[in-house]
């Protein structure tokens, strides 16, 4: 294919203007939090639950991107090499999520009923072998230790190849990715139990880990799409063309359906079984969070399913970004529905200034860290053996 009309790359500089914008976004989030705590004097559980929700969302964006990169590396795909540095840098934000989780630690009593060790009912007592504070903390630390190790080690392998290409580069990248996938397969499920499912301590679902994972994956794909479109627009990565967007759009489309598939699989069996201790989870959500319950389904499945069906939709940057933004908000709502009914309860939970404003702080923090890491390496891994193929391919 002819390589025409590809402008020269503009080296990325993390400029003052961008920093100002991120500062404004962070300030909006902080004001929303301070307003909630001091002026509106919202219930404590609602504030802690919001901090918890946003910390999870922050983590999921990086973790999903790391998974996306490793799974593509393992599958020996070539299309993603041009946008690989975006995923690498997103993955490096993982350890900073610890900070946001730790901020919410004093509120654990408000979030998790099983932390009230002095008066546990029979069901929660039987779960203490797994749901107890020391073991929970050990798991918390080990998840982050493992994920951080892989995020930084993979990045190191990738960046090293820019300066001294080695023959065993791909082999090393692949085997490390493989180990990450194995570990992620287990930790993604168990961390979802620890941080989300145990909010509704009496309830359980064996599908829950995959369900949360699929939502995480879709959310991080939509962020990758948004960043790719922006970087193409500002010529930071002029090699990104409609083929890359088409592939990302296919992932957004496909995994939105995958998310809906897991959602209905979990819902359908509980609905069919009709056992009170299982149905309580959905009764709570259908009765008291009725609007959001249906909005969740519409925004995360019906909308991307219909909007991304055609080929043209996936190749049009502006159109694709609008869908990505909607789906990203949709998965924030999905997490909201997973946390709030159990942690806050329908009498106190609401969507107000806090819920709308606070994510801006976390988004600004995410973008700040992402850009700092992105600036440190070349925007594209030019020495990657598949680099040329990634710039020169087409979707048939």
């Amino acid at each position: 294919m002819e390589k025409q009309n590809i402008p020269d790359a503009v080296p990325f500089k993390f400029g003052k203007k961008l920093k100002t914008w991120l500062g404004i976004a962070a300030a909006v989030g902080l004001i929303a939090l301070l307003w909630g705590v001091f002026i509106a004097q919202l219930p404590a559980s609602r504030i802690w639950a919001n901090l918890w929700l946003n910390a999870l969302m922050f983590l999921f964006l990086g973790l999903g991107a790391l998974f996306f990169w490793t799974v593509n590396t393992l599958g020996e795909s070539t299309w993603q090499i041009n946008i690989q540095r975006i995923m690498e840098s997103m993955g490096l934000t993982i350890p900073f999520a610890i900070l946001f989780f730790v901020i919410a630690f004093p509120g654990l009593k408000h979030l998790f009923e099983w932390t009230h060790t002095e008066h546990l009912d029979e069901i929660l007592q039987k779960k203490t072998a797994y749901l107890n504070m020391p073991f929970w903390l050990i798991r918390f630390v080990s998840y982050f230790a493992l994920w951080t190790f892989f995020a930084f080690y993979l990045r190191k392998i990738s960046v090293k190849n820019d300066f001294e290409p080695r023959d065993n580069f791909l082999k090393k990248l692949r085997s490390t990715s493989g180990w990450f996938i194995v570990i992620f397969a287990i930790t993604s499920s168990t961390s979802a139990w620890d941080w989300l499912m145990s909010i509704d301590g009496h309830w359980f679902s064996t599908l829950y880990g995959w369900y949360i994972f699929s939502g995480m994956f879709v959310a991080s794909i939509s962020v990758i799409i948004l960043i790719s479109v922006a970087f193409k627009r500002f010529n930071i990565m002029p090699n990104i063309n409609s083929e890359h967007l088409h592939d990302l759009g296919k992932y957004l489309f496909g995994f939105s359906i995958f998310w809906a598939y897991l959602w209905i699989s979990q819902y359908l069996l509980i609905w069919y079984g009709n056992i009170p201790e299982e149905t309580i989870y959905y009764v709570e959500r259908v009765d008291n969070f009725n609007t959001l319950f249906y909005v969740n389904m519409t925004v995360n499945f019906l909308f991307p399913f219909l909007a991304l069906m055609t080929r043209g939709a996936k190749r049009q940057p502006l159109y694709l970004s609008v869908i990505a933004i909607v789906v990203l908000i949709g998965h924030y709502i999905d997490l909201y529905l997973a946390i709030m009914p159990g942690a806050v309860g329908h009498e106190q939970a609401a969507i107000g200034l806090l819920e709308i404003g606070l994510p801006f702080f976390y988004l600004a923090a995410f973008l700040l860290l992402f850009l700092v890491f992105f600036e440190k390496a070349k925007p594209v891994p030019e020495n990657h053996p598949y680099f040329i193929e990634s710039s020169d391919y087409e979707n048939i």
Binding site: M1, L268, N274, R311, I396
Partner: protein, 173 residues
């Protein structure tokens, strides 16, 4: 009776270059046959996009609608059964069958439409000029019909691009 001239390449990049070379000379290419999809070939030949996705969409729509309405009819009118005290019209339980039928009818309609359109259905006689196109040969076919050149000129032009084993036959279509 019109003459058909054909030759093959063993590499897809040679094929792509030959296609461009022939087009630069103003020669129209009747068909190109490859063992697998070659990137950039569709654009070079200026082929229209396939209508197969539309067939799949319509097929899926028909399958999903029929599947859903059949279940609604069966469980409310045709033969209502009481399952664990649930209402007769229970949409969640219809979802799996609806989904499966959407996929099934979409896949069938797509497969059948493809076979009919490509003349590969049962009873059709495939016009294969070189069996190796299913293996490792990339074939270019030129026809006297849409070119103003004579048969020998076409053979020369194709051979000049580096095509191997250039042959010509008289074909009816």
């Amino acid at each position: 009776m019109r003459a058909i001239v054909y030759g093959y390449f063993t590499d897809e990049l040679d094929l792509l270059n030959a296609v461009k070379e022939l087009q630069n000379k103003g020669i129209r290419i009747a068909d190109v046959r490859t063992p697998f999809p070659v990137h950039g070939l569709d654009a070079a030949l200026k082929l229209r996009r396939s209508h197969l996705p539309k067939v799949a969409f319509v097929g899926g729509l028909i399958g999903g609608t029929l599947g859903l309405f059949f279940q609604v009819w069966v469980f409310t009118k045709g033969w209502p059964l009481n399952f664990g005290g649930k209402p007769f019209l229970s949409l969640p339980s219809f979802i799996p069958v609806t989904f499966e039928l959407t996929v099934l009818i979409a896949a069938f309609s797509m497969g059948i439409a493809f076979l009919l359109r490509s003349n590969l259905g049962p009873g059709s006689i495939p016009d294969i000029l070189d069996e190796e196109v299913t293996d490792d040969h990339f074939q270019i076919i030129l026809s006297e019909k849409n070119n103003n050149l004579s048969e020998t000129e076409l053979v020369e032009a194709l051979a000049a691009t580096g095509a191997l084993d250039v042959k010509h036959v008289n074909a009816e279509k």
